[in-house]
């Protein structure tokens, strides 16, 4: 597996994502001006503050040459993982549904919390079953991570199994609709989430559960 990790001016988790990917295969950084993703089997759009998050988080990065290439890569079925700012970029680019708004608290929040892979579960059923499912311990850290989409879109996402990850009840750090922490596209090869799996790949720094998220993404896409 050869991973490509995008690097924009203002990215700050790209080295950590590169390290996480290197535990699972080969990995290299992809500068935001690159258009050539040949030889790359999976793409990570990493966290940080691309272009300072000026205007709106992810709003400028989506126009970069590298993101044009990522859109083509995704359309061809290639697996793409957007983390935090990367999730915001993918939403801005229209590769994922919904938007990320200012946290309900209006504050940046950094906290280790538990995620539940939410494949195919509706929010009504989810609270009931969540206590029986294994959770993933992953840190979240963001100021604009409140997932929002209109109610009918949320219903459709749930029906299609497009809600990828939810916060364990009571741990939603930002006021996201229906405790949604991450979503995927209809074709299931593009996944975005606010928490940071790349910061959960080392027992010394708290958890190795993040590797499962990278592995799930790699398995979901059709290598280009």
């Amino acid at each position: 597996m050869r991973w490509g990790v995008l690097q924009f001016p203002g990215s700050c988790d790209e080295r950590d994502a590169l390290h996480a990917c290197s535990l699972l295969g080969e990995a290299r950084l992809v500068w935001h001006e690159e258009r050539d993703l040949s030889g790359i089997d999976a793409v990570v759009v990493p966290g940080g503050f691309s272009y300072g998050d000026y205007l709106r988080a992810g709003a400028i990065a989506r126009f970069s040459p590298a993101m044009e290439a990522v859109a083509e890569f995704a359309a061809a079925g290639g697996p793409v993982l957007g983390i935090c700012n990367g999730f915001q970029v993918l939403c801005e680019a229209g590769l994922l549904p919904g938007a990320l708004l200012l946290n309900e608290s209006t504050r940046f929040t950094c906290r280790q919390l538990n995620l539940i892979p939410a494949d195919g579960t509706k929010s009504s059923a989810y609270a009931r079953i969540s206590s029986r499912r294994p959770t993933l311990s992953i840190p979240a850290k963001h100021g604009e991570g409140r997932y929002y989409a209109p109610g009918e879109v949320l219903d459709r996402l749930e029906e299609n199994g497009q809600v990828a990850y939810r916060y364990v009840p009571g741990q939603n750090p930002n006021g996201s609709a229906r405790d949604i922490a991450g979503v995927r596209n209809e074709a299931r090869n593009v996944v975005g989430l606010m928490p940071h799996p790349e910061h959960a790949v080392d027992p010394l720094t708290g958890s190795t559960d993040g590797l499962k998220i990278f592995e799930a993404v790699a398995a979901a896409g059709v290598p280009a």
């Binding site: 001016p9 503050f49 300072g52 998050d53 929040t109 950094c110 906290r111 850290k141 940071h196 720094t205």
Partner: protein, 730 residues
């Protein structure tokens, strides 16, 4: 008689300093020169009231790679790597505009560290505000915390620790001290000295605007007071995105070997950067202000020279490499302009095109400021106020809960959750997980621990003993995670040094710092002095903030502060004889006064060694130093963190002559609270006082015995958000 104030006085220079400048120039300075002299001869840049005192501090050691005089200090961490670090104040800007003041404080200390060629890996901060029942304090706290988060989070440097105290003397003059830690390959590090006559001076990063003009002289070197709103334009505006780009740009330039030297532009902007680079290199510098990229076209030469616009760096570059340097700047979408040249003239010359608009000897400008002796006088007793908020008749349980809820003791989770503590994949111990933050350094195959401390109230009680305690607290925090100190940095936050009492506090504190550093064998590798911290009611508590960096061989062996195992023995170690003098409880009762017991540094140092070795050998379940709020608060903190109770008897402290109340709530250096196997703990001299288990904190202390549920203590300890946010609505 006219009331017209001479221009030099408006700029903060005394008449005799102005005369000395005229003498050194052999003429009257023009406006450009006067502006530049006024900044470099300010307290902030020239350290004119503190430099003589600072000569007392030990600065050398076998692990020191860079000491005072560089942009930051650095110590050897092994395998060809160094850890660079420094703490710096941004107090007055934060008192005027807390968000930008604190944000640019972080930005400035980051630049100091990457100016050495070190990649910043961690930030810590030490904050002081007035009491939380003041609207001003809540405003300043909220703004400063948001500002620190805004800058550090955006640039992607983990904020791993810090401290916040709330005391009335900081009401009008809050303290915002930020510390940055970076890692560098020693062979890629660079000094600030300009070298190589004919080499180009390249200004990188942001363009230059009118922000922050006079920040160093007007704001940082005088007391705050009425009319501070008019000083708002002297506060700078931070842009972490620009800094992120210029950071990556500079590190790439150094990795490629394209820079001869590098310096950040901080206080006094181009004036101090160019002047100090020339002075350190024993050369001259010509700068052409017409080549400086500007935000506003009509800026005067003096404005360009003194602007404190943020996110700028000054590099010295061999002429043949200028093109390559500018290409790297362009890659990172940051500014790059050749604005001058290194000369052999020994002069700083300011040009505007072909016209010379300023011409001063480097020696006079940078090193010519007179250094003043202080006129210290010990004040008569306690010069600060007292305010009782707790009935002396309160029960032990009520007292414990009041202490845990006291904003200076309570959990600071509200603040540190607003900071990214995990970016960089190094953070092995996050805030509150252990007494010191622990960062793994895979490059060197080991880890570092960092702590920042400085209890101004105790320093106010006794500046000498209190400063020693601040250093010992850092050393104890490091010991709790198995780290051995490598070096320290300090920020001396004091009142007006021209007044006898603050002068005495400063003098005694520096002596204490020198003595304890010598005794511990820990060198001072850098720091900062912030004077004139006063409000209408007088000086702040004298506040030496100490940041210490230590090394530990194996991050997997680090213990935390939480009780973790039912049935573990709880033990005390160290020369701990707590007393109420200067304690949080004395504050709550309104009983503060001058004087502290004198610490036994050698005995504390020996206890640190014992704890460090025990942690490294994996012998402990937990280690926590006994600090604010005394043993009772320390027990509650260990219990809350581990979600498990404890049962102890303070009899061993009674045998040291402590009253039950001293034993429970008294403070003093040298106390470690350990848990683990009883025989193991006693094998290295720890005194068993109880056992981990149950759901209550149960303490036998004669007529002050008490039992309280862990949940109740947790409620008090986590009460800070309510105290901040609810009051903010009023």
């Amino acid at each position: 008689m006219t009331v017209e104030v001479a221009k030099h006085r408006e700029l903060g220079l005394t008449d005799s300093e102005f005369e000395l400048i005229c003498e050194k120039l052999g003429r009257t300075p023009n406006d450009v020169e006067l502006a530049m002299f006024s900044l470099l001869w300010s307290e902030h840049c020239a350290y004119k009231h503190s430099r003589k005192l600072l000569r007392r501090l030990p600065t050398e050691g076998e692990r020191v790679v860079m000491g005072p005089g560089e942009n930051a200090g650095a110590v050897d961490i092994g395998n060809g790597y160094a850890i660079a670090f420094k703490v710096e104040s941004h107090n007055h800007p934060s008192a005027v505009e807390p968000f930008q003041g604190a944000a640019t404080g972080v930005g400035g200390i980051l630049r100091d560290v990457f100016a050495l060629g070190a990649r910043p890996i961690a930030i810590l901060d030490s904050l002081r505000f007035g009491e939380l029942d003041s609207l001003r304090s809540r405003h300043l706290l909220d703004g400063a915390v948001r500002g620190i988060g805004h800058y550090g989070n955006s640039i992607g440097v983990a904020n791993v620790g810090g401290e916040i105290y709330f005391e009335a003397p900081y009401e009008h003059n809050c303290l915002v001290n930020a510390m940055c830690i970076g890692i560098a390959k020693q062979d890629e590090m660079v000094r600030a000295a300009a070298a190589g006559v004919g080499n180009a001076i390249v200004l990188m990063g942001a363009s230059t605007g009118r922000d922050g003009i006079g920040g160093a002289s007007v704001l940082a070197s005088a007391e705050l007071g009425d009319g501070d709103e008019a000083k708002r334009p002297t506060v700078q505006i931070g842009d972490p995105f620009e800094e992120s780009k210029v950071l990556e740009c500079c590190l790439e330039l150094l990795e490629k070997g394209l820079l001869v030297s590098l310096q950040d532009l901080g206080a006094a902007g181009l004036t101090s950067s160019a002047g100090e680079m020339a002075s350190a290199g024993g050369v001259g510098i010509d700068l052409d202000v017409a080549k400086v990229p500007l935000r506003e076209a009509d800026m005067e030469p003096f404005e360009i020279m003194v602007s404190e616009s943020q996110e700028r760096m000054l590099g010295v570059v061999e002429p043949a490499k200028v093109g390559e340097v500018l290409a790297v700047c362009e890659k990172w979408q940051t500014g790059g302009a050749e604005i001058g040249v290194v000369t052999d003239s020994g002069q700083v010359r300011v040009l505007q095109g072909d016209e010379v608009v300023g011409d001063m000897p480097v020696e006079a400008l940078v090193d010519g400021c007179p250094l003043y002796d202080l006129s210290p006088a010990e004040p008569d007793g306690w010069i600060y106020g007292n305010r009782a908020t707790l009935d002396p008749g309160a029960s032990s349980e009520e007292t414990l809960l009041a202490l845990l809820a006291s904003p200076s003791v309570a959990s600071k989770r509200w603040a540190f959750e607003q900071y990214d503590s995990v970016v960089g994949s190094r953070t092995v111990r996050r805030p509150e997980a252990a007494d010191a933050a622990v960062l793994q350094i895979p490059e060197a195959g080991n880890a570092i621990a960092v702590s920042i401390d400085g209890n101004g109230r105790r320093v106010a009680c006794d500046p000498y003993a209190g400063t020693i305690e601040a250093v010992l607290e850092c050393a104890q925090n490091l010991a709790c995670v198995g780290a051995e100190p490598l070096g320290l940095t300090n920020c001396l936050n004091f009142g007006n040094p021209e007044k006898p009492a603050p002068a005495w506090q400063l003098d005694r504190a520096v002596s204490g710092l020198a003595d304890v550093c010598n005794a511990l064998g820990v060198p001072v590798v850098g720091g900062n002095v912030s004077l004139y911290n006063e409000g209408p009611e007088g000086p702040i508590y004298p506040t030496p903030v100490v940041g210490m960096v230590g090394e530990l061989p194996d991050p997997a062996k680090v213990s935390g502060s939480a009780f973790i195992r039912e049935g573990d023995a709880i033990a005390l170690l160290g020369p701990f004889t707590p007393a109420l003098a200067g304690s949080e409880l004395a504050k709550l009762r309104g009983e503060l006064g001058a004087g502290l017991p004198q610490p036994n540094v050698a005995a504390v140092s020996a206890a640190c060694t014992t704890v460090r070795e025990a942690v490294r050998a994996g012998k402990l379940s937990s280690a926590h130093d006994i600090s604010d709020g005394g043993l009772a608060c320390a027990l509650a903190e260990c219990a809350i963190a581990g979600r498990i109770g404890c049962s102890v008897d303070v009899q061993p402290l009674r045998e040291r002559g402590c009253s039950p109340e001293d034993a429970l709530f008294g403070e003093g250096p040298g106390g470690f609270l350990l848990s683990g196997d009883r025989e193991t703990l006693e094998s290295f001299g720890a005194t068993t006082i109880g056992e981990v288990g149950g759901t209550t904190v149960e303490v036998a202390a004669g007529d002050r015995s008490f039992t309280v549920s862990v949940g109740t203590t947790e409620g008090a300890w986590l009460s800070l958000p309510g105290q901040i946010e609810i009051r903010a609505d009023n």
